[in-house]
């Protein structure tokens, strides 16, 4: 938990750029429209929700990548999403619509409250060439054991 409130750690190990951010997740109107409309397994939903918004400065520091890989604090889970620079976000933070992509990396610790850290989970972010998966592909890849 010590590391939890460290806002910004930059590690440039192994020639790779990786940074620690605080992940904020939340509703967006389009996510709401698609989810309530039963469209969670559609391409539109992926385009709307598999998105990681970040401060333009941080975006540049990461080399203005098209896609980023977001990894949970414990390093156990990661997910690829489209990176979007967004003025409204402070440096050191990222925003993702609340959906399966963001929840893959949300910290499951609830501090004995029953509610996980949907806002303020520490995550690692690096540029990636990995494909952004659809909700369906993500479930099959991460959750369903064959």
């Amino acid at each position: 938990m010590e590391a939890m409130l460290n806002l910004f750690v930059s590690t440039r190990g192994s020639g790779k750029m990786m940074k620690e951010f605080l992940l904020n997740t939340g509703s967006t109107i389009e996510e709401g429209r698609l989810a309530k409309g039963g469209s969670k397994l559609t391409e539109d939903y992926t385009q709307e929700c598999a998105v990681c918004e970040m401060n333009p400065g941080d975006f540049q520091d990461l080399g203005s990548p098209q896609k980023v890989k977001i990894t949970s604090r414990d390093g156990r889970y990661s997910v690829a999403a489209y990176a979007h620079p967004e003025e409204s976000i402070q440096s050191g933070q990222v925003f993702m619509p609340r959906a399966i992509w963001s929840n893959v990396v949300v910290d499951p610790e609830t501090f004995s409250t029953g509610s996980p850290l949907y806002k303020g989970s520490p995550v690692q972010i690096e540029p990636t060439k990995e494909d952004v998966l659809s909700a369906e592909e993500l479930v099959l890849k991460l959750y369903v054991r064959s």
Binding site: N24, E30, E87, G114, K119, G120, A135, V144
Partner: protein, 434 residues
Amino acid sequence: MAFKNIICPVCGASCDDIQVELRGSKIVTKNACKMGNAKFWEIFSPHRIREPLLKESGSFCTALWDEAVDRAAMILVKAKRPLIFMGSETSCEAMQVGLHLAEFLGAIADSNSTVCHGPTAMGIQEAGRVGATAGQSKSRSDLVVYWGSNPLESMPRHMSRYGVYPRGYWTRRGRFDRTVITVDPRKSITARNSDLHIQLKPNTDYELLSALLTLLHGKKPHPSVEKVTGVSISEMEEMLERMLGCNFGAIYVGLGIASSFGKHRNAEAALNLVKELNNHTKFVIGALRGHCNVAGFNQIASYLYGYPFGLDFARGYPRYNPGEYTAVDVLREQDVDAALIVSADLVSHFPAACARYLAELPVACIDIAPCPTTMISQVVLPGVIDAMECDGTFYRLDDVPVYFQPFTGSPFSFTDSNEDTMKQIFQKVKEMKR
């Protein structure tokens, strides 16, 4: 056929002014927002789940209703410790059956309200709450604080119907009679439409609230609070001055309070602030409930069993201890071995460790459209859409019950509503246990 005053079953605003026109297999709505609209179109959507599905060696096949209900009941009866999860987009009547079923089985009953405003409910248990109905706030409030909430995206009509724009008896000029303050680490669209935006650092709500309370008690907060929260003490004083200067203030807390680091302690501090402000002027506080009827589970569970969420019936009587009996925790700790999930998409909305364990368990679900949770289930029962296809009760964001009537019927011959489906499962469970 045109229908008036239909209740929208999508978010906690429970708008009761939706007009619906059915033209053959087309539907035209008036007054609903984007999110609401999308759900009304679900009635005829091509991806609607219309038949019961059973998973056989990894893939789904359609099944007879009775067979599917049987399988769902079997999953529950065979389990040592099942989880009954009641999503929020269904009626209180269905939730009630779910709670009774959990009691009968000695199971755990939980709902979305836990991961939504569960911490707020816990804060209320610690500190008590000064509240008001949405109508009260609409008529009286001349100052609105959106704290950790972004209604323009999560409850699109909150500002226009209840919070900011409506003209009430004492707020005749609508928006012009109101000051809007937003507290959010993001310059959200709501923040951009506010008179004052307090842009604090994430995970520092507790410190900001604590500093405001200290100021109210006549002391200067410890100076480190400026660096911690990113908000200067003079900004805090300005905010407080505006709050003390109003006649009727309303604070709407969102998940920025309930979900961020600090959780129920954040909510408790916000509730304490409101209590304290009432020594100076009138102030109320309420939660912006993202999902429709997410308040309902808290209400029903509280009046039936004494606790608002995360109930454990293992010993025959209800027990409550968030962190021990709550869905995220029992899944993370692998402390349940089967689940019945009603109108909720846990696989999408729970952290990976929980979703992954859930995917290993026998799961039955009731839903209207395919989603990650239906994908990992063994039994999928088609859901009926409350407020469109059947009647029932929702609780609005301000804990006011709203009775809804449908404008069309259940599309299925085998069930009238999710309540009906739950009763059928319960009946089967009783027969099997006999």
